[in-house]
């Protein structure tokens, strides 16, 4: 940890053509250079500030032997895909239910249709039909009175 912020304590060496350099940090109070491990951990902690000072980022400003601490990807509490899955699932279920129910209703209407036809025919028969002022009922053979005037053919003809 740097005890005091003094630019004069940072010494450069091995400057190359490319913008790169080695540096050591001295501690004037104890007259020795700080160990590399301490400097590395310090830089790791304030890496962002150093990057921003140079308007660079981890890809363009590299510290050798200091691995970058990569930012973890943002994990929402509910994964996005489940939300969309849920929406699609509900839509499809609702549409399927609607189709099935309308199919059942159509089926019932078809079944009711022919039976309704039969009901009206029965009603038609139950109303008393009147022709020429005489109710047809007594003329119906439902009662079953045999008219003796009409002899059945079997008795007229003599059997062979």
């Amino acid at each position: 940890m740097l005890s005091a912020n003094r630019i004069s304590h940072v010494l450069l060496c091995n400057v190359t053509q490319r913008v790169s350099f080695w540096f050591v940090v001295t501690d004037p109070s104890r007259n020795h250079t700080l160990p590399a491990v301490e400097v590395q951990s310090a830089i790791r902690m304030i890496r962002n500030r150093i990057n921003n000072a140079f308007f660079l980022n981890d890809q363009t400003l590299e510290f050798l032997r200091i691995p970058a601490t990569l930012a973890p990807p943002t994990d929402p509490s509910v994964p996005v895909w489940i939300i969309i899955f849920g929406v699609m699932f509900c839509i499809i279920i609702v549409a399927t239910m609607l189709l099935i129910l309308s199919g059942i209703r159509q089926h019932r209407r078809k079944n009711k249709g022919p039976s309704e036809m039969e009901d009206t025919e029965d009603k038609w028969e139950n109303t008393v039909k009147i022709e020429n002022g005489i109710p047809c009922d007594p003329l119906d053979m439902k009662g079953g009175h045999v008219n003796d005037a009409f002899v059945t053919e079997d008795e007229r003809l003599t059997p062979l």
Binding site: T16, Q17, P73, W81, I92, L99, I100, G103
Partner: protein
Amino acid sequence: MDEARPLWATPLQFVFACISYAVGLGNVWRFPYLCQMYGGGSFLVPYLIMLTVEGMPLLYLELAVGQRMRQGSIGAWRTINPYLSGVGVASVVVSFFLSMYYNVINAWAFWYLFHSFQDPLPWSVCPLNGNRTGYDEECEKASSTQYFWYRKTLNISPSIQESGAVQWEPALCLILAWLLVYLCILRGTESTGKVVYFTALLPYCVLIIYLVRGLTLHGATNGLAYMFTPKMEQLANPKAWINAATQIFFSLGLGFGSLIAFASYNEPSNNCQKHAVIVSIINSSTSIFASVVTFSIYGFKATFNYESCLNKVILLLTNSFDLEDGFLTVSNLEEVKSYLASAYPSKYSEVFPQIKNCSLESELETAVQGTGLAFIVYTEAIKNMEVSQLWSVLYFFMLLMLGIGSMLGNTAAILTPLTDSKVISSYLPKEAISGLVCLVSCAIGLVFTVEAGNYWFDIFNDYAATLPLLLIVLVEAAAVCYLYGLRRFESDLKAMTGHALNWYWKAMWGGVSPLLIISLFVFYLSDYVITGTLQYQAWDASQGQLVTKDYPPYALAIIGLLVASSTMCIPLGALGTFIVRHLKQGDTASVA
């Protein structure tokens, strides 16, 4: 007849149904691969020849049979000749296998579609490792798109023996896919007829959008030039012709019974000859169109990878030799490399092993087919485009439409014979029959969502449909021409549609197409026999790539069972009819 057979509302619905069935994922991910492997532009020659000689005649044959017999595959073949009821059953069995594994692709498409609504796309970045100093190891060795496919989507196991547990995420997507299919087939032709407007037309909209976007991408012309440069020497390669014939055959979906099922809902006077020609031409043009799109995307991806490879080399050299930033560019890379090799030989030899030889050709030559193309290569290209979420959503939506369209045909092939049968349809309404079929297929399809599920998927994809279909279509063509009688069929068609049968169709049905199918059949059998043990590609997580392994004996047994269960239906059906007839004759003889 108490209930008239349901019909398509307009002939256009029938054409769209056939198009949405035939135009499927094979057009998008198999044809571009074949084009690349067998000589680019010159592959079109065997392809178009096979289309006119094999594809159109057989398609017309199936449509004509379905329209004439007005029943699903089982009833239609039983009417042609009672000994052929096994052919219909074999078609239904193959369709059942197909629908079981095909809907898994739709489930994967749903998975990717749902994940496309994130920024950044989950397959574009690798997840971090434990102490957040770098990326996950498997992801580093492979690429982020491969990692997302093999680890996040499939969670694949290292071999087929280690089956693992059912993964709940793909299982949920599979259930959703089956629900969607059920919704579309619920009411039979009434609902299917409306859905096919979308499944037939929407993929074309997306393909056109992708065509415009693809052609304007940087590096697209590299891919197009690579694909379309004809390599005429491939015309002499018999494999090119065999693959062209195979592609036409399977792309049109012959032999599954779906075309017979669709045609059975036609008016008898429908001009199916015209429709057969239209559907086959549209199917092939879509393949060619899709390969233009695919290759412009390929070219973009290859150029992007090539340039990033070069940039990595530049960075490596800049770092090792402490050169000025911007000193090394793409144009002077070679000179500087030779300069550095001569000026600092020892240091250069240290760095040399890490310098990759970047080549555009080798990037373009990575030919991929099947699920690898759709889910790995395409996503890799998409993640580098601007507004990648939009392109991703469009692409997977298109895959979904193509897949659902083909599923409609597959399920129609299974359901039409079931609803035609008086026994079953008297007990259950057709909604219940469709529901049962979907439920059973979904339950068995959960096998493909276990950790080793992709290996089982490959087994079904490679073996469930290939050989049986060739046999089925061969028997179909021979039956119509020789058992039923070509002249009788011709007069049937004339009475039905009013048009006379062209000599061309007669020549193809009688001679050329069956011969082609026999040669394909012989080729495949000899291929299986010669290669000996069958092998598969397994994903090795430690290396981050695919390795070849042998199938264990029980997997080989299942492969044999798959092929046998559909092909054996044909002789067993004939045998069954023979026995039943024999018994009936025995009865009548004893009564008289």
